[in-house]
Structure formats: structure tokens, C-alpha cells
């Protein structure tokens, strides 16, 4: 057997590990909502489609169409398992697109639904997803107006994939986009974070919860309307899905050239989320949400907006978690419970359980 190995560092024969961006294949991280996703968009899609509307990189595009301001968004839904505590693929497919529209301040009106089905999937499963979509659409006040179905061979899909697109009208005087964050803005989150991600993980990782942990999937358009009734001058809205609150705040900081400063103690993290993250080695700030939003609101309106959110069922757990600052532009910094600080960077890809 090998004895003590020779020293391996030889300056004459240096090789550099390939940087991830030069990878010739798609890796899971490209869909994780972090830095790899952003690079895919910036380096592949944006140059290919090149136009100012896409370049804004908002959750939904706002288009001038025949005098109306139309919000338009599309999203594909791939989730395993298809059903999880608190919801399933069908709920996500409706609420996700409804929420992307709402993050422009729009009132969502119509959705399309395109199914990619894998050969061999039980029809009962498809029916369950479709029924969930119908119920979610009714709850959100939108109409599924058109659709499509394709089938792929067994082994070439994950059961059911759904793509939904949606349109809605943006009220006059409303201009909500990440570029509008300003130093002084108050950062408000609409409720406890991390529930959706942990609910899905609980099924994947075989966790059991003494208390019910259910996905927070919910439509947010009505909550947004309640906020806009206080003031149309809400600067930024974002629903922190993949990549969690950490990714959303980084995107806002980078788009607006401002810094974000959070107070760790103010961020609502349910105990079960904190504990599940604790032993998997995950950071709740990067765990996905499906029924939460984060808002940047001018300080003069913050108190009233917060009150309006708390009066709404989807915002009853709303809390001020920090502020937008001029310092450290493009970065998100958290004041820790002990009084130190740490930087919350844009995650690279999806979060992985740690042992270290």
C-alpha cells in the first residue's frame, strides 16, 4: 500500500480548475435562482433576445399596449414531490405567476397553462394537479383562458411539468421595479420566511414535524392592492421564491446600486424552520417562499403600509426587517443578534446540506 505521498505542489506544472462559468453543460445550479441563474440570463438569453423590456429583468414585464399598461409573466413549475404539506404543483403554478404579476403592482387577470406529461403518469395525478390549479385560480380571481398539452416518453420527464403565463393591468401611477430602491426606504417582509422550502424538504429528507409545517403558497395580488391603496408610491416588490429572501434582496441591491441593511432579530423565522435549517446546515435567508413578498417603501408611508399589510390575511405576520442604505452598494448586510455584522451574498446555485 502507498506510504507517505510525495509533496504534490510543483510550480512548473500548474493547472487551473475550470471555472464553473465555462462549463459546457447545464448544471442544477443554473435553475437555483442564484448567481448561476443570473449568468445564464445575462450571458445566454439577454444577448439572444436583446431588448430594453427584457433587460429590466423584473419578475414580470410591464408593456404599453393600446394605451394600457400590461404586466406579462411566464414561469415553468418543476417540483418533486408533486404534492407536499400545504399545497402542490398546481397551487404553485397559479400562485407563482399571479405573484410575479403582482410584484409589478398589476391586478392579474388571465393565465395560460401548458402541461408536459410523462408517458405512464396516472390520469388521476394529472386531474389532481388540474383541480388544484382551478381552485387556486378561483381563489386568486384569475381565469385560465388557454392551454396546451404535450406528452414525452417514459423516462424523459418527471411526471408532470406545468408552464403558466399570465397578464394583468398595472394601475395608473404605479411604477414598481427593483431599480427604484432608494436609501432610506423601509424594507418590509409580509410574514414568516422559509416555510415552503422546509415543507418540501421535509418530504425529501424524511423529516417529521411535531407541529404542522405547511407551504406558504398563496396569491399575493390582493395584499398588493391593499398596500397600493395606502400609496401608489411603493418602490419595489419581490416575491422571494428560489434563492429566498437573501437572493431577492441581493438582486434589488444590485439593480438599484444601493445597500440593504437588515436586523437579524427582526426577521420572522419560525422555530421549525430555524431548527430544520440548523441541522441540515442551511440558512433560512436562502430558503424558498411561495406566498411572501418583500417591499421597499418610502419611510413616510412605511407605518401605514405596514398596518394595511397586517390587516390583510396574507400579511398578518408582516414585519419591518431593515432599511435601504447608501453604504456598501449592491450588498446585503445583516446585523447579528450579538451585535456583529455579516454579509449575505447572492447564493451561487441551490443550497446544499452541509456537514461542516
Amino acid at each position: 500500500m502507498s506510504e507517505l505521498a510525495e509533496p504534490t505542489v510543483d510550480p512548473a506544472d500548474w493547472t487551473c480548475p475550470a471555472p464553473l462559468r465555462d462549463q459546457p453543460v447545464v448544471v442544477m445550479g443554473h435553475g437555483g435562482g442564484g448567481a448561476l441563474s443570473a449568468e445564464l440570463i445575462e450571458q445566454v438569453f439577454a444577448p439572444a433576445y436583446g431588448n430594453a423590456t427584457l433587460a429590466a429583468l423584473t419578475d414580470s414585464a410591464v408593456l404599453d399596449l393600446g394605451g394600457a399598461r400590461l404586466a406579462f409573466s411566464t414561469d415553468s413549475y418543476v417540483v418533486r414531490p408533486l404534492f407536499f404539506p400545504g399545497g402542490g404543483l398546481g397551487d404553485l403554478a397559479v400562485n407563482g405567476t399571479v405573484n410575479d404579476l403582482a410584484m409589478s403592482g398589476a391586478r392579474p387577470a388571465y393565465l395560460s397553462a401548458a402541461f408536459v406529461l410523462e408517458e405512464g403518469v396516472e390520469l388521476a395525478v394529472v386531474e389532481k394537479v388540474a383541480r388544484a390549479m382551478g381552485a387556486a385560480a378561483e381563489a386568486a380571481g384569475v381565469v385560465v383562458a388557454t392551454g396546451d398539452t404535450k406528452v414525452v416518453e417514459s423516462g424523459h420527464g418527471d411526471g408532470v411539468y406545468v408552464t403558466t403565463s399570465g397578464v394583468g393591468l398595472v394601475p395608473a401611477g404605479v411604477d414598481i421595479r427593483p431599480q427604484r430602491a432608494r436609501p432610506g426606504d423601509v424594507v418590509i417582509v409580509s410574514g414568516p420566511i422559509g416555510l415552503h422550502g422546509v415543507a418540501v424538504m421535509s418530504v425529501r429528507e424524511g423529516l417529521e414535524f411535531g407541529v404542522e409545517i405547511a407551504s406558504d403558497t398563496a396569491p399575493l395580488a390582493d395584499l398588493v392592492a391593499a398596500m397600493l391603496a395606502v400609496t401608489p408610491d411603493i418602490h419595489v416588490l419581490r416575491d422571494p421564491t428560489r434563492g429566498g429572501l437573501g437572493a431577492s434582496l441581493n438582486e434589488i441591491a444590485r439593480a438599484s446600486g444601493t445597500g440593504v441593511r437588515l436586523s437579524e432579530r427582526s426577521i420572522p423565522v419560525p422555530d421549525a424552520v430555524a431548527n430544520a435549517c440548523g441541522f441540515l446546515g442551511l440558512d433560512p435567508l436562502y430558503v424558498a417562499n411561495e406566498g411572501r413578498l418583500v417591499a421597499f417603501v418610502p419611510p413616510s408611508a412605511a407605518e401605514e403600509v405596514l398596518a394595511a399589510m397586517r390587516a390583510h390575511p396574507q400579511g398578518s405576520g408582516a414585519a419591518v426587517i431593515g432599511e435601504c442604505v447608501a453604504e456598501h452598494p449592491g450588498m446585503v448586510v445583516v446585523a447579528t443578534g450579538l451585535g456583529g455584522t455579516r454579509v449575505v451574498d447572492l447564493p451561487l446555485g441551490e443550497q446544499l446540506p452541509r456537514i461542516c
Partner: protein, 380 residues
């Protein structure tokens, strides 16, 4: 008693910080050996709260960071083979080998799976008798009892399609290697509490005596870390160098004898390479002759893979506390978290990645490729 919240109390943290300030009269360099402690220090911003005389050097106790390049290349080679299910702890997937990482192998069709426990990999082997299931058995003394149990059970169950790619490392030889480096600046150690939970503290008095350094077994919550620092500094100020246990709720002098017995049944001490540092005598474990059938290196005949590490990367010196990350010429230029040369830049708690983030925060005008400040600014 929940054993977490109580040891996060901000008021008691202030008491300990005041204590540390009160006993500190001059600069001291302490090394926290364990990556989990580094994580906690950064997560809570503890380093910024300490008096400026106290420097914490982030040690080599991250099994992901120190797994040598050639072992990762072996993992990539095995994981890419048809018929193999390659199982790993999540944080290993992103560590670059010579020309790719496990994510890329997965992207190219390899069956790579993240597991929480080695027993999950064993279960996969039981359920997939027609597939070869390989577990990437990295880790320090803390993880060794789990990996040892997986092999022990595989043999008991007669599973012939299960094997381990072993890259186990041990803490005491690493402390010895750090202390014998010519330019060593480390004056005291926070020993890794969970390693001590398994192994006990009997190996440390000889090291403390020989190198004249305090060694304090330290836990992972903020109060634990502050108490470890307080005790180490107090010893240093008094000119002492003893082994202390600042984590008595989880560390007994004798460790966990049942776990140690299992380790000794399955593993034997061997020399091992540490990424960035090089070979350290007797610093690892490998499967004993009796369990050699479960050694993936032999089963897949990858023992011949040898890889050179990038010389430009000075992560070994960073891990030993010989230089600060900013003193490496590659730092922030050819080496960034996005394009890491060494593992200290890969892991978000790696010393280089942590420095990179804080540099960006304090000098936002300086982009990668620009000038590197001599020293990190204190964080406000």
C-alpha cells in the same frame, strides 16, 4: 434546557466579551481548528466584536476544504462510471477537481446523489442490488464513527455492492504540522468540540506541553466560542499552556469509547495529503486490511490517479495561518468565489471567501482584478 438558545444569549455574550477585553493586554493569535466554529464566528459576527488584539486564524478543520485534489479526481472518475450511484454530503459537490466538479458529472449523466447520512447510502445499496453504491467518506473524527458503522453494517448485511471512497483526516497531527511550520504564528488553539466528543481530550496535553500552547476544547454556539477564547487568552496572559474543557456538556476526557472502538475496528491510521498543505504523517484513516473489499479506490482501480495542485494557490499557508488571504497574489484576481483555485475560496466559510466578501463590502469601488488593500478594514 434546550442547549441552543441558552448559549446564544446576547447579554451573557456581552459579559464574556467584556471579560475578554479586560484580560487582554497585548496581541494574541488564536486558531479555531474547526470549520463549524469558523461558520459560527462569521454567522454571528463574533470576530468583529473581539478586541482588536485578538486575531482568529481560521484553521484547516473543514473536511471539504482539505480533501486533496487527487481524491476528488478519483471521486469524479468513479461517479462518471455507468452503473454507479455516487453518494456524497452536499457540500462536496461544488468542490472543483482538476477539470470539473461533481455537479458537472451529474450534469453529464452521472448518478450523483446528496445524502444526509452514510446510512442513507447503505439503504440505497440495499434497494439497488444491481448497482454499485459508493459513499464519499470524508470527514474528521466526528464523522468517522458514522462512516465506520456504514461499512460494519454493509458487511453484516452481506452487501457486496457498497463501498467507501475514504478521505478521513485527524486533528492532532494537523495541530502538530501547524506548530512545526517555520513561520507559525498560532499561540493557542480552540480545539474542535465535536471531535473531542468522540475522541476525548487525552491526545492534547502532550501537544500543549511540547509546543507551549493552550488548547481549549470549545463548542459551537456563540457563548461557547467566546468562553473558549476567554480561557485561551487568560492562559496566554498568565503564561500558561494547559488543556481545558470549555464544552463540558458534550466533551468528556475519555470521549465516546463505543464510537472509538468502532473506528478502530474499521479504520487504521495512515499518512494523508491535505489539500493546499501537502502530506502530513499519520494524519488520516483508511480502511483496515479486513475491510479492504469495501475500498472504492481498489474496487474501481483508481489508485493510480495523481494530480498536481495549482501552485498559484496559497490556501495551505492561509489554512496554517502563515499568511492572510489578501497576501496571496491570486486573491481577488484569478481566484474568486466564482472561480476558486483553492478550497478556502470554495466554501463560503473558507477564510478566503470570507475575506473576499468583507473586502467587497468595505471597498465596493475595487473590483476583482483591481488593487487589493493591505488589510481588511474593520467592519462597522
Amino acid at each position: 434546557m434546550k442547549y441552543i438558545d441558552e448559549f446564544n444569549d446576547p447579554d451573557l455574550a456581552r459579559v464574556l466579551l467584556d471579560e475578554i477585553r479586560a484580560v487582554t493586554t497585548r496581541p494574541w493569535a488564536l486558531m479555531e481548528v474547526c470549520g463549524g466554529q469558523t461558520h459560527s464566528i462569521i454567522r454571528h459576527g463574533i470576530d468583529q466584536l473581539l478586541p482588536e488584539e485578538i486575531e482568529l486564524i481560521h484553521g484547516p478543520g473543514c473536511p471539504v476544504c482539505v480533501t486533496p485534489l487527487d481524491v476528488i479526481d478519483k471521486a469524479l472518475e468513479i461517479a462518471a462510471r455507468p452503473g454507479v450511484i455516487f453518494c456524497s454530503f452536499g457540500d462536496m459537490l461544488r468542490v472543483p477537481g482538476t477539470d470539473r466538479d461533481l455537479f458537472r458529472v451529474k450534469g453529464e449523466g452521472g448518478d450523483v446523489r446528496v445524502v444526509y447520512s452514510p446510512l442513507d447510502a447503505l439503504e440505497l445499496a440495499r434497494r439497488n442490488p444491481d448497482r454499485e453504491v459508493v459513499f464519499f467518506a470524508i470527514g474528521f473524527e466526528t464523522t468517522a464513527p458514522a462512516n465506520a458503522m456504514a461499512v460494519h453494517q454493509a458487511r453484516r448485511l452481506g452487501l457486496t455492492n457498497f463501498s467507501l471512497l475514504v478521505s478521513h483526516v485527524r486533528v492532532p497531527p494537523a495541530i502538530e504540522a501547524i506548530m512545526t511550520a517555520p513561520a507559525c504564528r498560532v499561540q493557542g488553539f480552540l480545539a474542535a468540540g465535536h471531535v473531542c466528543s468522540v475522541m476525548g481530550t487525552a491526545e492534547y496535553p502532550e501537544l500543549a506541553e511540547r509546543f507551549g500552547v493552550p488548547i481549549v476544547a470549545t463548542g459551537f454556539e456563540p457563548l461557547d466560542i467566546l468562553e473558549g477564547i476567554r480561557r485561551a487568552v487568560r492562559q496566554l496572559e498568565l503564561g500558561e499552556h494547559r488543556v481545558e474543557n470549555a464544552y463540558p456538556r458534550a466533551v468528556r476526557e475519555e470521549g465516546n469509547p463505543a464510537a472509538v472502538r468502532m473506528i478502530e475496528e474499521v479504520f487504521e491510521v495512515t499518512d494523508r495529503n491535505w489539500r493546499g498543505i501537502g502530506p502530513i504523517p499519520r494524519s488520516g484513516w483508511r480502511l483496515t486490511e479486513a475491510f479492504r473489499d469495501y475500498d472504492a479506490e481498489h474496487r474501481f482501480d483508481v489508485t493510480g490517479i495523481r494530480t498536481e495542485e495549482p501552485a498559484e494557490c496559497r490556501s495551505g499557508e492561509v489554512l496554517q495561518g502563515l499568511i492572510k488571504p489578501t497576501e496571496c497574489p491570486a486573491f481577488g484576481t484569478t481566484c474568486t468565489p466564482r472561480t476558486p483555485l483553492g478550497a478556502t475560496m470554495v466554501s463560503s466559510e473558507g477564510a478566503c471567501a470570507a475575506y473576499y466578501l468583507y473586502r467587497r463590502m468595505n471597498a465596493p469601488a475595487v473590483q476583482a482584478g483591481g488593487a487589493v488593500p493591505e488589510e481588511m478594514n474593520p467592519v462597522v
